[in-house]
């Protein structure tokens, strides 16, 4: 069965520090990969996506993610975190030969210290 793992439930970083949020998936083939951000009381906003090609993808708000096939990972990174980045981050995967059925990770809550 498809599964998505975000091993870190909570992460706290200082403003200006770098950030990496981990995401691993289990699936035989390379799925479509997404990162979403959810601010309190809001819906999910797409940060970036990977379908094929260059394994380093750029997204909005200065985020990037790198797909590593050998590790079945799609980690999200940001070189310098801003206080407004405090939110919940979700990794999602969708199988390539299926309807657009997203499997979400359990989320990582990011706190930013001043």
């Amino acid at each position: 069965a498809q599964s998505v793992t975000q091993p870190d439930i909570h992460i706290t970083v200082s403003e200006g520090a770098s950030l990496e949020l981990r995401c691993n998936y289990s699936y035989g083939a390379t799925p479509y990969l997404f990162w979403y951000v959810q601010s309190p009381g809001q819906g999910l906003q797409l940060l970036l996506k990977y379908f094929s090609g260059d394994t380093l993808v750029q997204g909005i708000k200065g985020f990037e993610a790198e797909f590593k096939r050998s590790q079945s990972s799609f980690n999200l990174r940001k070189p310098s975190v801003h206080w407004s980045d405090a939110a919940e981050y979700f990794c999602a995967v969708a199988r390539r030969n299926n309807f657009n059925k997203f499997y979400f990770g359990s989320g990582t809550k990011l706190n930013v210290k001043p």
Partner: protein
């Protein structure tokens, strides 16, 4: 203009009641979804419609019945509400049902059962 709008934003009701949540998207998308986010923030797909046709129907109690009068609307009706139905329900849409289509989310409906 809100791309995916859900009403109501909050819904507080008694156990055993019947309630509906409405969703509308003005993006011209063909595919719409309902997700349930539990108290641990875990997001799970419930249903998906493509051009008014049901294409994803996860293991959801039959007290939950989606209805799509047209491709811009997907409503969720819940009969005989139970305590375990308390959650945030998200509507989403995507251009079509391909697995590579990012989904656009509404702001959610927080359902609380007393």
């Amino acid at each position: 203009d809100t791309a995916v709008s859900q009403t109501p934003k909050y819904l507080v009701t008694q156990m055993g009641n019947d309630k509906s949540i409405k969703c509308e998207q003005n993006l011209g998308h063909d595919t719409m979804y309902w997700y349930k986010q539990d108290s641990k923030k875990f997001l799970k797909i419930m249903f998906s419609y493509n051009n008014k046709e049901l294409i994803i129907n996860e293991t959801v109690p039959n007290r939950f019945s989606p209805k799509s009068p047209d491709k811009a609307h997907l409503n969720l009706h819940i009969n005989s509400l139970e305590l375990g139905d308390s959650a945030v329900y998200f509507c989403a849409s995507s251009p079509d049902r391909g697995g590579n289509q990012p989904q656009h989310f509404g702001d959610g409906t927080r359902l609380s059962i007393l």
